[in-house]
C-alpha cells in the first residue's frame, strides 16, 4: 500500500499543474462552436444556400494566402455554411504551422465574421500543444500517462477504505483536513470513470499526429504507386470530391486531404467521408482519389487505431451528445478542478491540528 500512496502522491503532483491548465482551457472548448458563433467567427455562412463550386472556394483561399499550400479543406460541423481551409505557409516545418482560412461555402468569399480563425483556435493550440508546436503533444503525453497512474493508484488506495467506511462517506466531527480528504476521495471516486475516459482519450489525442503518420507510412503509402505521376495537371477539386462521394452515396464529406499533407499521398487526394448516423458518423471513411485523373484508387477501411483516434476526439471534448451533454461535461470538468485543488491543499497543508479524542485519519 505504501508504494501505491507514493505513486499516487508523486504522479498527481507532477501532472497537476498541466491538468489545471488543460481543465481550464478545456472548459471553453466544450462550447467552442457557440463561442465562435457569438464572436462572429464563421457565423456569416449560409447553411441552406446552394454551395459554390469548391474550385471557387480554393481560389478564394489562394487569394487570401497566395504563397501558401492548401493541406486540408474541411466542412466543420459547428460552422454550417462555412468551409475551413488549412494552409501551410511558405517554410512551414510541420502541420502545426498551418493557418486556417474560412470561406463562405455559398458565396466563395470570406464570411461576414472575417476569414481568420477565432480566438478559440489559440485555446485549442494551448490545450493540445501548450503552444510548443510539434513538441507539445510529446510533452503532454507525460502528464497524460501520469494522470492515468494517479487514477489507478487512487482506486487501489481508496478501495480498502471504502470497504471499511462505505462509499462516498464524509466523516463529520473530525478535523477540517479530514473533510478535505473525504471531499477529494469522494469526488475523485464518483467521477473516476469519466476522468479515466477523458484522460485516456487525451493521451490518444496527443499521439494523434504520430498515429496518422504510422498509418500513412504503413498503409496509405502502399497506394502511392497506383496514382498517376504528379507531373500532369491536377484535376478539379470538385471532380475529386464527387468521385469520392460517389463511392459512398449515403455519406457526407468531412474533409479533403491534399497531396503533401499528413493524411494523403504524393499522387492522390484523400476524401474523408462521415457516415449518416451512429458510430459511422464519428469514424471517417477515406476514399483515395487520383490527383490527376480524379479516379478512385482505393477506399481502405480505417484500421482500429485510426478508428480509436477518431472516437477519441468526441469522447475527449464531449461535443457529441447535444447541449445537455456539454453542460454535464462542464460540471464534470469543474469537479475535476475541485479534485485537483483539494489534492494540492492536502499535499501542501500541514497535518492540521487534530482535536483531542479524535482518532488519526485514514491515509488515502
Amino acid at each position: 500500500m505504501r508504494f501505491w500512496i507514493w505513486a499516487h502522491k508523486w504522479s498527481s503532483l507532477i501532472c497537476t499543474a498541466f491538468l489545471l491548465v488543460l481543465c481550464v482551457t478545456g472548459l471553453p472548448l466544450i462550447f467552442r462552436g457557440e463561442i465562435d458563433h457569438a464572436l462572429g467567427y464563421g457565423a456569416g455562412g449560409q447553411a441552406e444556400a446552394r454551395p459554390a463550386p469548391l474550385a471557387a472556394i480554393e481560389a478564394a483561399a489562394r487569394i487570401s494566402r497566395p504563397l501558401g499550400k492548401i493541406h486540408f479543406l474541411v466542412w466543420e460541423p459547428d460552422k454550417p455554411g462555412v468551409i475551413t481551409l488549412s494552409i501551410a505557409p511558405p517554410g512551414a516545418k510541420s502541420f502545426f504551422d498551418n493557418e486556417n482560412v474560412l470561406i463562405d461555402a455559398a458565396t466563395a468569399s470570406p464570411p461576414s465574421g472575417g476569414d481568420r480563425a477565432s480566438p478559440t483556435q489559440w485555446l485549442i493550440d494551448l490545450h493540445g500543444t501548450l503552444l510548443l508546436g510539434p513538441m507539445g503533444p510529446l510533452v503532454l503525453g507525460v502528464p497524460a500517462v501520469l494522470f492515468i497512474v494517479a487514477l489507478v493508484s487512487g482506486i487501489v488506495i481508496y478501495g480498502p477504505f471504502a470497504r471499511k467506511a462505505g462509499f462516498a462517506q464524509v466523516r463529520v466531527g473530525r478535523t477540517k483536513r479530514t473533510a478535505w480528504l473525504d471531499l477529494h476521495n469522494m469526488l475523485g471516486a464518483v467521477i473516476m470513470a469519466w476522468m479515466l475516459v477523458v484522460g485516456a482519450t487525451g493521451l490518444i489525442n496527443t499521439w494523434g499526429a504520430s498515429i496518422i503518420q504510422f498509418w500513412q507510412m504503413s498503409e496509405l503509402s502502399t497506394y502511392a504507386q497506383r496514382g498517376s505521376p504528379p507531373t500532369g495537371k491536377t484535376a478539379s477539386i470538385d471532380a475529386i470530391v464527387a468521385a469520392g462521394r460517389a463511392r459512398f452515396p449515403d455519406y457526407q464529406p468531412y474533409f479533403v486531404a491534399y497531396p503533401g499533407s499528413l493524411m494523403a499521398g504524393d499522387r492522390f487526394h484523400a476524401v474523408y467521408l462521415r457516415g449518416p448516423d451512429g458510430l459511422k458518423e464519428h469514424i471517417f471513411q477515406p476514399v483515395l482519389v487520383d490527383s490527376v485523373t480524379a479516379r478512385v484508387i482505393g477506399a481502405p477501411r480505417p484500421p482500429w487505431y485510426i478508428s480509436a483516434l477518431a472516437l477519441s476526439q468526441p469522447l475527449h471534448f464531449g461535443d457529441y451528445g447535444g447541449a445537455p451533454l456539454k453542460v454535464m461535461w462542464t460540471l464534470l470538468d469543474l469537479v475535476t478542478i475541485a479534485v485537483l485543488i483539494s489534492g494540492l491543499k492536502l499535499t501542501f497543508s500541514k497535518g492540521g491540528r487534530r482535536p483531542r479524542n479524535i482518532s488519526p485519519e485514514v491515509p488515502a
Partner: protein, 73 residues
C-alpha cells in the same frame, strides 16, 4: 460493505455506458445517456454538501478546542 463497492462499480459502469451510448446516435440514445450519467453528478452534489457540512463542523470544533484548553489550565 460490499454494497458500497457495488454502488461504486454501478456508477462507473453507468457513466461508461452513457458516454458510449451518446456516440450511437441522436434522440433516444442521447436521453438514455443523460439518464446514465446524471446519477454521478447528483452524488457529487450530495457529497459536496456533506463535505461543506463536515468542514463547518470541523471549524466549530477546532475553534472551541483552544477555549476549552484555556479554561482547563
Amino acid at each position: 460493505m460490499k454494497k458500497s463497492l457495488l454502488l461504486a462499480a454501478l456508477l462507473a459502469v453507468a457513466m461508461l455506458a452513457g458516454l458510449i451510448l451518446a456516440l450511437l446516435g441522436d434522440g433516444a440514445w442521447d436521453v438514455v445517456a443523460y439518464v446514465l450519467i446524471a446519477p454521478a453528478l447528483i452524488l457529487v452534489a450530495q457529497v459536496s454538501a456533506r463535505a461543506m457540512h463536515g468542514m463547518r463542523a470541523a471549524t466549530t470544533l477546532e475553534q472551541s478546542q483552544p477555549r476549552q484548553s484555556a479554561k482547563e489550565t
